[in-house]
């Protein structure tokens, strides 16, 4: 028999990259991705409809409640309402909680946990695959919406382009933070999806409405500090948010998100390393 393919185990970084490589295509072509691609397709559909209305409508700009609104403002509104408050957290919950849970449910975790790599590397590799997968899902959606909406009402794509880059960076940071938090929840909690949905659809919107320090126990609080667009004033809820707005600056937000992401990932890796996974027979 020929020599063994390797005589020493891969480093942590190398293990992470190998797990990333193994997981990315599995994640990209999963049923979850198809479903969530439909979700991120929603804003595109909305943008197409707005663009058609503008092109064939009687006015030079779109009108909301009788007032003229530029395409760039609508784009900003969509970033706030659709991406920051809904799509990014939802992607984080659905993918983040399933990083290890899917492998356990499919009973393929055995193959990864009986290899000479640290369990933490499995989690981090899958987390990076999640990040790549969600970025690949969300960024094209944002760019299409940007190119469809900004010219509406005579907006300049060139002038707004730096803001698009800021949006893309901010959304990637949001995906990273939510993904890490929910990777930890997924590693720790028995029904992580329920816990995650309660967090993003219940806890976060609720505590952001109230003054005080409680909002610092959310990801959204720091993420909104990075949004380059003005907070919309389209509803009572938004007005309340504006009233109690305690928006952190860009740097503190960035630092907080980095710390949150790294901390949650570290705890998630520790949890995965020490936990027993009893597979259903």
């Amino acid at each position: 028999m020929a020599a063994s393919p390797a005589n020493r185990r891969p480093s942590f970084v190398s293990s992470v990259l190998r797990i990333f490589d193994l997981s990315l295509s599995e994640m990209l072509w999963s049923r979850r991705s198809v479903f969530l691609a439909l979700l991120v397709g929603g804003p595109i559909l909305l943008a197409v409809v707005s663009r058609v209305v503008w092109m064939f409508g009687p006015n030079e700009s779109l009108r909301i409640n009788g007032g003229a609104v530029s395409g760039a403002s609508i784009f900003g509104l969509m970033i706030w309402l659709l991406y920051v408050r809904f799509i990014v957290p939802i992607l984080g919950v659905f993918y983040g909680t399933s990083l290890i849970a899917d492998e356990v449910e499919d009973r393929t975790i055995t193959y990864l946990f009986t290899r000479p790599i640290q369990r933490g590397a499995v989690l981090v590799g899958k987390y990076l695959a999640y990040l790549a997968c969600t970025v690949l899902l969300i960024l094209p959606s944002v760019m299409v919406v940007f190119f469809l909406m900004v010219p509406v009402g005579g907006g300049s794509i060139a002038q707004m382009f730096p803001s698009l880059l800021a949006d893309l960076g901010m959304l990637a940071a949001g995906l990273a933070a939510y993904g890490a938090v929910f990777a930890w929840v997924g590693a720790r909690v028995k029904r992580p999806l329920v816990a995650g949905l309660v967090f993003v659809l219940g806890w976060e919107p609720a505590v952001l409405l109230f003054p005080g320090y409680l909002k610092r126990a959310t990801v959204a609080y720091y993420l909104q500090g990075l949004v380059p667009h003005a907070m919309p004033q389209d509803s009572t809820m938004s007005l309340l948010l504006q009233t109690f707005a305690d928006m952190p600056g860009i740097l503190p937000s960035l630092v907080a998100l980095v710390v949150l992401t790294a901390g949650a990932l570290w705890f998630a890796a520790r949890t995965v390393a020490s936990r027993e996974y009893v597979l259903e027979q």
Partner: protein, 305 residues
């Protein structure tokens, strides 16, 4: 040095006991872990592969504790029982990806994967998606990922289940050759003759306890020391019964609709007499001879008694 050493190892799943105060030492070579479904074989396999941590006691594999010791997996190959895969990958892609987790470069991993697929006779299906594999092929590709990195110790959980007779024979040969090459194998099964075909060294497990360890022939002897039950469906069961009653080795008799059930202390003598009676055809046709004692459950019942 023992391959696996367990000292008073117990494993509970909440209120349910999976393994109960097991102390054993597995020598190098091929060892069969034999037990009925639900006996604790998979729990034992999961403990020795470090997927589970003992609730009590200590377990070492190749001289080191296995729990949270990823370095040891370089020396171990594990073929799990569950039929679980990345279905969209081809056999070659999957085995290569798993071998890459053991270190080494892409080319070496591909070579090792090809070699392993060849060993389990799957070369022709290497580029086929696993989702399109038959049950037997899926079993074999699982074997391939376990042995591709050429581990010192191969741990196989029910590796023959779902294989057709030819693949079964080839796998048995492969396991024996693996053992002959100086490496060790632990293989679990609930079928006695499967284990006997691979090794004489067995561990008998039932209800979370190791009931016996050692040579399979000793276990056979244990079986033979106990009364052996034979169920004979025949044209004239009462006439057969009269013949049997004259023999010393028949301990008891009872009747069912068209059958006689005999308990004998000497199965070899009894079967010889039965064969002679069947051949003579003097007492009518014998339709069917079965022995409930041939199954493994009966062995365990004897041993528990």
């Amino acid at each position: 040095m023992s391959l696996i050493a367990a000292a008073q190892v117990s494993k509970w799943y909440g209120q349910v006991i999976g393994l109960n105060d097991v102390t054993l030492s597995v020598p190098p070579g091929i060892t069969g872990l034999l037990g009925p479904n639900g006996a604790g074989k998979s729990t034992f396999m999961k403990l020795v592969t470090g997927q589970l941590k003992p609730s009590k006691g200590r377990i070492t594999v190749l001289g080191e504790p296995i729990w949270q010791n990823p370095d040891l997996y370089f020396r171990i190959g594990f073929c799990p029982e569950q039929d679980a895969f990345y279905e969209r990958m081809t056999g070659l892609e999957w085995v290569t990806a798993l071998v890459r987790l053991n270190g080494g470069g892409e080319t070496a991993a591909i070579e090792a994967a090809k070699r392993a697929l060849d060993m389990v006779d799957l070369s022709s299906a290497a580029h086929k998606k696993i989702g399109a594999y038959s049950k037997g092929m899926r079993q074999r590709v699982k074997m391939a990922q376990a042995l591709a990195h050429e581990p010192e110790l191969l741990i196989l959980d029910e590796p023959l289940s779902g294989m057709d007779p030819i693949a079964r024979r080839k796998t048995i040969t492969l396991i024996r050759e693996w053992g002959r090459s100086g490496r060790s194998v632990i293989v679990s099964s609930h079928i006695l003759h499967e284990i006997e075909a691979m090794t004489a060294n067995i561990l008998l497990i039932n209800q979370g306890r190791i009931l016996a360890e050692g040579d399979v022939h000793q276990i056979r002897d244990l079986i033979d020391k106990h009364p052996h039950t034979v169920h004979i469906r025949a044209e004239q069961p009462r006439a057969l019964a009269r013949e049997f009653l004259a023999s010393d080795h028949v301990l008891s008799l009872r009747f069912e609709a068209d059958a006689v059930i005999v308990q004998t202390g000497k199965p070899d003598l009894f079967y010889a007499q039965l064969t002679a009676l069947a051949a003579s055809n003097d007492l009518g046709i014998i339709h069917e001879v079965t022995s409930p004692d041939d199954n493994l459950q009966a062995v365990f019942q004897y041993l528990v008694k």
